[in-house]
Symmetry: C2
Subunit: 383 residues, 2 copies
């Protein structure tokens, strides 16, 4: 099916290296659109560098930023986080939380309840693991992105005194647990289909895909039990998919010792945060790891695509930041659009291929930001 849809993208360069890498992504998107009349992309850029904005306006983004972004089809983010200098108590002047507030607020505001990071190493990407099987990792880490350990409920009693007691409460609902676990099983099925097409079938005890649930149920019983029970119940609806369970500590260990054994992994917000970062290392590091924050149940709410890396203020403005993760993030956005738009699907493939080819051809990781951008764009123009 081909639609005439024009995709409206809100581009947020953000902080630090964000503006530099996003510039390469928009150039690549322009090149793709110029060469394919079927692909219609429009974007508006929102310059809200958190520290500078905070200095000027006393808040890290305009008060109505969610409203400003709500009408777009997707949000493409460079990087957020620039808390400014550190004070005596080793705290940032603009606290981490304030500086990153928009990131977490956007996820919450548009109910982007799943964060996905695919792991399939590109040739030429860094390889941190010694075992050659690590080149064949094919994993999708799915993180619950809307609640759990991130609700930030709690408080400080007798703050700053020897009697201080702090509580930090995590909240988990049936509703959010149900949708994230079902999503994991759906993604497992989609992978079966894709792997068949690509001739890379896998076998998990006679089934073609597996979902691994991660909890810490042996020490955190309440939510561990709910997740475990719901996982078992939902698995009955997916008899074609194998299931597995790991405790988070063991899962982290196995992500290093034999990550090739995993397929789809589903975890709570905090565990998912940790596992997706480990997944990024397996991918070859932050430099090549894209991620998506999605709301699969309501496509009228914009998803947000962001590279795994942070804003790296220490190398900002030096034309040194690798743009591969950002370019692959743009490709992930095109893939998502591609579920409803053939031209976008084609463009996503082309962009991913161009980045992969560039990486495979250039072991030198120290090329300038725009040198890599130029090379990828030249390849897109040729292809």
């Amino acid at each position: 099916m081909t639609t005439q849809k024009t995709w409206r993208v809100a581009v947020l360069p953000g902080d630090g290296i964000g503006p530099e890498v996003i510039a390469q992504a928009t150039r690549a998107l322009d090149t793709l659109a110029a060469s394919d009349p079927g692909l219609a992309l429009e974007y508006d850029t929102f310059e809200w560098p958190s520290h500078a904005w905070h200095k000027a306006h006393g808040e890290s983004a305009p008060a109505d930023y969610l409203a400003q972004l709500a009408g777009y089809d997707a949000i493409l983010l460079g990087a957020l986080g620039d808390p400014g200098p550190i004070d005596d108590a080793n705290r940032y002047l603009l606290s981490d939380s304030d500086s990153l507030a928009p990131l977490l607020e956007i996820r919450k505001g548009f109910d982007q309840w799943v964060c996905e990071r695919p792991v399939r190493r590109l040739d030429g990407a860094l390889q941190y693991l010694a075992d050659p099987r690590a080149n064949d990792i094919d994993m999708l880490v799915i993180r619950e992105n809307s609640e759990g350990e991130y609700v930030n409920q709690g408080g400080r009693l007798a703050q700053g005194t020897p009697n201080e007691v702090v509580t930090q409460t995590a909240v988990f609902t049936h509703r959010a647990t149900d949708r994230i676990i079902r999503h994991a099983f759906e993604q497992a099925r989609a992978r079966v289909a894709l792997r068949k097409v690509e001739g890379r079938e896998r076998d998990f005890g006679g089934k073609a895909a597996q979902v691994c649930l991660v909890t810490k149920r042996n020490a955190q019983k309440f939510w561990g039990d709910m997740y475990t029970e719901m996982f078992a119940a939902i698995a009955k609806d997916y008899p074609d998919i194998a299931t597995h369970h790991e405790l988070v500590d063991a899962a982290c260990m196995k992500f290093v010792s034999h990550p090739w054994a995993f397929d789809v992994v589903v975890a709570s917000n905090l565990h998912g945060d940790i596992l997706t970062d480990l997944a990024a290392v397996l991918n070859g590091g932050m430099g090549v790891s894209p991620s998506a924050n999605l709301n699969p149940s309501d496509r009228t709410r914009p998803p947000m695509f962001e590279p795994t890396h942070g804003s790296a203020p220490d190398i900002a403005g030096q034309n040194r930041a690798g743009p591969a993760a950002m370019l692959l993030t743009a490709a992930m956005m095109l893939d998502w659009m591609g579920e409803a738009d053939e031209a976008a699907a084609r463009a996503g493939q082309r962009l991913k291929q161009a980045v992969a080819d560039d990486l495979a051809a250039n072991a030198d990781q120290r090329r300038a930001t725009d040198t890599i951008g130029d090379a990828v764009i030249a390849a897109l123009e040729k292809a």
Copy 2:
């Protein structure tokens, strides 16, 4: 100083492979004691296999097990965890938590408020990382072991229904935070002294050791702030030690990408659980990773020494489990005794050396449990 102290050890073989590996450890301890009149060790063995005990008595250990253990100088544990078969809801008949209850209860009951896992790879141990610098990792992960995410407070509202809401609350106190952070700085200082003796000094911006605090303060503000503030305040008492801060997701990533940059790492109970397991991988895996649960502020309460590995019921009774982690755990116990007893200190060194030599001489990881035990004991008898 030499004491005439007789060390009384409570030996808990536990479940699965526990009894097999602990048999090698007690043989090694006997050999050490036999060859050094200065070393006086006595032990009693407590056979409380959790699943079998539960079957026979309806509880996973005798009701008064803490009282039974209280009089000992130290507890040496093989492995706990044998929940028995899994039911339809994918839950163990004897739940994980019940099966492991004694482990957590012993930690709590004797206020073993610190869990330590040192990382220094032994030659011949598995190396999961590709970078050769990973052979020189020299790290100590210190886990808060008494509270935090492990208090298991919370509940399930509307359990099992679509309206279910679960809370899981973590509790952190000034008292426990203060002692664990101070302990980390003290250990950093001890490492400086040791490294001087051994000629392996390190440099952290002009200081000879570093403590890295791990939190998730950008998403879990309440305890993240308290930890961060207290860390900054306590650091002022240790101007000779460098400080650093990582978020837990980044810390996990860096444990894989450049672990050699770390020195002492201090983290909450859950984060520490994850980081110590990753540390075990850096060590060469579960098979060679010992750990200690200590109460440094009250040496009249027994500490517990346990290998990082679990009970591995799938290979139990087959004489296949590697005893190296258990032997190194016994050496860690001797080291701890060695703080007050020269003969124990010597014995700890000898045992560690014998295991290291055996590992270096035998790349074959598939030797039988007792074959490895025999080789280590033969070496101890010669040395």
